[in-house]
Assembly symmetry: C2
Homo-oligomer: 513 residues x 2
């Protein structure tokens, strides 16, 4: 049963005073039955205080204990899978395949962090025995606030990458659930709470707050006992939280992944020879009804002869698709408004709407695009803008006019290598991940992934929010100097009882000292 209550350090609390809200089935636009309670300031305070109290204990748990905890979360999720997936589909209107896929991805993400804990490499141990005996390892930074994302009710929400990476790091987590899928989030939160009990860990390690009001997030981020923030969403939302966090007496890191237009650059040779290009692009642009952070919102194409109308071709393919509704009526309205604005400005060369599907494809000449900064703002949804260039050097100009991006995709042939290199060299300082095949949608959860780019794509390009390296957002090094062996954390002890690979005087070794 979904209760609509808030989880405060282990207890699902009923409040009388709080405002309520409902989730909506985007297919029918009908409110679903559960009345969800907005978390009160007192509840926020209690949740954060409990997180802080539990921090010392949780930070000192072994990697093994944390791995067991994450495994138990996986088990709990699996045993509640059916109800979670039903709720997911009701609240998101996303098809069963997507629900299943995202559920499996969420489990797989947790698995990656279990493996990381088993390996112990997150400690990043450096030992220097000459001169003073110095031994450095990572230590969790403290209680973390995580914001659920609207577009991924599982993989970027309550038990998503932010929460799991923070828990793996040894940080207690207070989640602010996204109101669009409050029911799904509650069910997932209950799995984490049950896992805490089963693992005999303090309940303060995890709390789950609901609400529609921005006030809840503001109170959470401003709370002096919160030491870091994870967020995936819009630029305005992420930047507002970032600014709040910087104005605190003690500023704290905010990892806001704020989306991007993920340009795809297509060279002439590719355009001429890849006949499935338009179809591939149409699929990427409409994937998840355009609600992916890596959605390609900009397609820069080199067509010196001016004979291709790639926008029309893409649109032809999107017309054949039937897309599920967007996650919420309000997202659809914002999308429609942005498209109307684009049309009314009359800057675009052409705008193709795709019949019964909501996808829109625009096209514009490079010169016009470069002049108008507004055209490089993200339109969140199934939209892409094709920018027609007459030369490679015009493509370079477009690349240089862009702000920071999560991804850029460079599609050329072997003959284009010299030009690709030039473009690559411009883009490297603007982008987190550069692809040379395929499309940017689809983000592999591996240790080699980088999901985060220079501002405004994210607030700290030195970290990733996807893949196991996401854990380093929540860790900081502590050095022990001339510490007696018996007082050292196990990971740093002479005998290396955890058998971790350690950097000792510059050499990586699992040997004892």
């Amino acid at each position: 049963m979904i209760t609509g209550k808030n989880l405060i350090a282990g207890s699902w609390e009923q409040t009388v005073q709080s405002s309520i809200f409902h989730t909506v089935n985007p297919k029918t636009n009908q409110a679903l039955p559960t009345a969800f309670q907005e978390a009160t300031s007192d509840q926020i305070d209690t949740a954060v205080a409990a997180a802080e109290v539990s921090f010392e204990t949780y930070a000192s748990t072994s990697f093994e204990e944390r791995a067991t905890f994450l495994q138990t979360i996986q088990e709990e999720l699996q045993s509640h899978q059916q109800f979670i997936l039903e709720t997911y589909q009701e609240e998101s209107a996303l098809p069963e395949g997507r629900a299943q896929g995202e559920f499996q991805r969420t489990l797989a993400q947790i698995q990656r962090f279990i493996e990381l804990l088993q390996k112990g490499s997150l400690a990043e141990i450096k030992i220097h025995t000459q001169g003073p005996d110095l031994r450095k390892m990572n230590y969790p930074i403290g209680p973390i606030a995580v914001f659920g994302a609207s577009n991924f009710p599982l993989a970027f929400s309550t038990a998503g990458g932010d929460t799991i990476s923070a828990l793996a790091a040894g940080c207690p987590v207070v989640v602010k659930a996204h109101p669009f899928h409050a029911g799904t989030s509650e069910l997932v939160a209950d799995c984490i709470a049950k896992a805490l009990v089963k693992c005999n860990l303090p309940q303060g390690i995890f709390s789950h707050l609901g609400g529609q009001s921005h006030k809840i997030g503001s109170l959470l981020v401003s709370h002096p006992k919160i030491k870091g923030v994870g967020f995936t969403g819009s630029f305005s939302g992420g930047k507002a939280l970032y600014d709040l966090a910087q104005k605190r007496k003690e500023p704290i890191p905010v990892f806001a992944e704020m989306g991007s237009i993920n340009p795809i650059f297509i060279f002439e040779n590719k355009l001429k020879t890849d006949f499935s290009l338009a179809e591939t692009l149409a699929q990427s642009v409409t994937m998840g009804t355009g609600q992916f952070c890596t959605n390609p919102g900009l397609i820069v194409v080199c067509d010196p002869s001016g004979t291709h109308d790639l926008a029309a071709e893409i649109s032809q393919h999107t017309s054949e698709l039937s897309l599920p509704p967007m996650a919420h009526d309000s997202i659809q309205k914002k999308f429609d408004l942005q498209i109307d604005e684009l049309k009314s400005e009359g800057k675009l060369k052409s705008v193709y709407s795709s019949g019964n599907c909501s996808a829109v494809v625009g096209s514009i000449d490079a010169k016009e695009f470069i002049k108008n900064k507004k055209l490089s703002e993200e339109v969140f949804g199934p939209f892409t803008l094709v920018v027609n260039c007459l030369s490679v050097s015009q493509m370079l100009e477009v690349a240089m006019a862009l702000e920071g991006q999560l991804t850029a995709t460079l599609l050329g042939e072997k003959e284009d290598n010299r030009d690709l290199k030039m473009l690559l060299s411009k883009l490297q300082s603007k982008v987190g991940r550069i692809l040379f095949e395929g499309v940017p949608t689809g983000v592999a959860v591996t240790e080699a992934m980088q999901h985060g780019g220079p501002f405004p794509a994210s607030t700290d390009s030195r970290f990733t929010s996807v893949g196991t390296d996401a854990i380093y957002r929540w860790l900081r090094p502590v050095a022990f100097q001339d510490c007696p062996n018996e007082l050292l954390p196990d990971a740093l002890k002479n005998e290396n009882p955890l058998g971790i690979l350690r950097n000792v005087d510059g050499n990586l070794t699992t040997a004892a000292l």
Copy 2:
């Protein structure tokens, strides 16, 4: 000859309009002859623009080329050593031994980064070949502004750790020299400029700006083309730059190491058995006339019988010392003012001034200390406050009342291990480096060093400003997906031409793919 000019991308520029200032010999309080020109807004702009223009070229230099550049800087410094040291001593009034020591330390720091470049580990390569081919490596973040520190004219200034780590990372640097040692800085800057010419690198990679006015630093940090900031100094200075950087349209990371009171906790057994304790502490408190970031400003002592007057003992030893003057009259004045305030508040139990030496030692009971937040603020200079505790639990209370610190030192005997563990567990979340022997002054430049603690000790506790890991402040990961081998940076190529240790599918190897 010292010219007093500013170095703008390779040329020592004479300006007519600029205000001038002089450095002062702290021994005599007499101005030295050179008239130093304040950098103008135009010069700042030109310097940063040149840094940005040179970025793409410099970022693509090989590790070997950068290592050669750093070696050439070392050589230039060595061949100008005599004049640099003379100027250093004139401007700082520090003794020759300290000048020599700091010069050697500066060379040794550079050497550590040369070795790091030779090893290539700064790239932190992660390759994942299953699924999409993903290869991630670090890439420099862009032009960096570095602020020279007042207390280390060489090791934390123009060719100090911030500049050298940024140059090693592949970032151009614009230095704002500290006005107290503008001459020393100019000579060092000239060495870097000469090294750029010898290595045939773009001159825009390094510029050097002088000035007394805060405006120069503000313009530099606010400049949209600056992508990161390194600073060592006061809380007010560091926090002001941090706030400026966060208010930019594009916020940028500021690594401000803002000092700390570096508490030393002394257990009863240590107090009773270590008869050289007072002398050791007196030396640490007065080292560099108290102007070290790791100066122990707080000594928390467990003395249940209340029979020890450690403050008096320390003071007796400081009385025997003769200290060089502080780096500048203004620092001395601020120190005197803070001491006067402490005395006049009447909160301290006793205050020992040390005769002809400027050192001051206060003492207070733990209860009083915990009540008065003001007493845990840093007094920059040769001062320490002894806090007398009646029990270990009172020591714990003092520990819990403290803010973030660069270091904490725990001095106990084997019998204290249980209590030490408890204290350690409280301090771990507040401190960057924890010592169990000796004193916190003296910071080894190794890969295991952590110099940076939770706020307000520094603005980002996840990074260090001393040791080779300081380089990671200026790097961010970029992932290449399905990139043709010939387009990959050498470090990521299949054949591993650089022979770097790489993480391939979770295993560290130098083998080719």
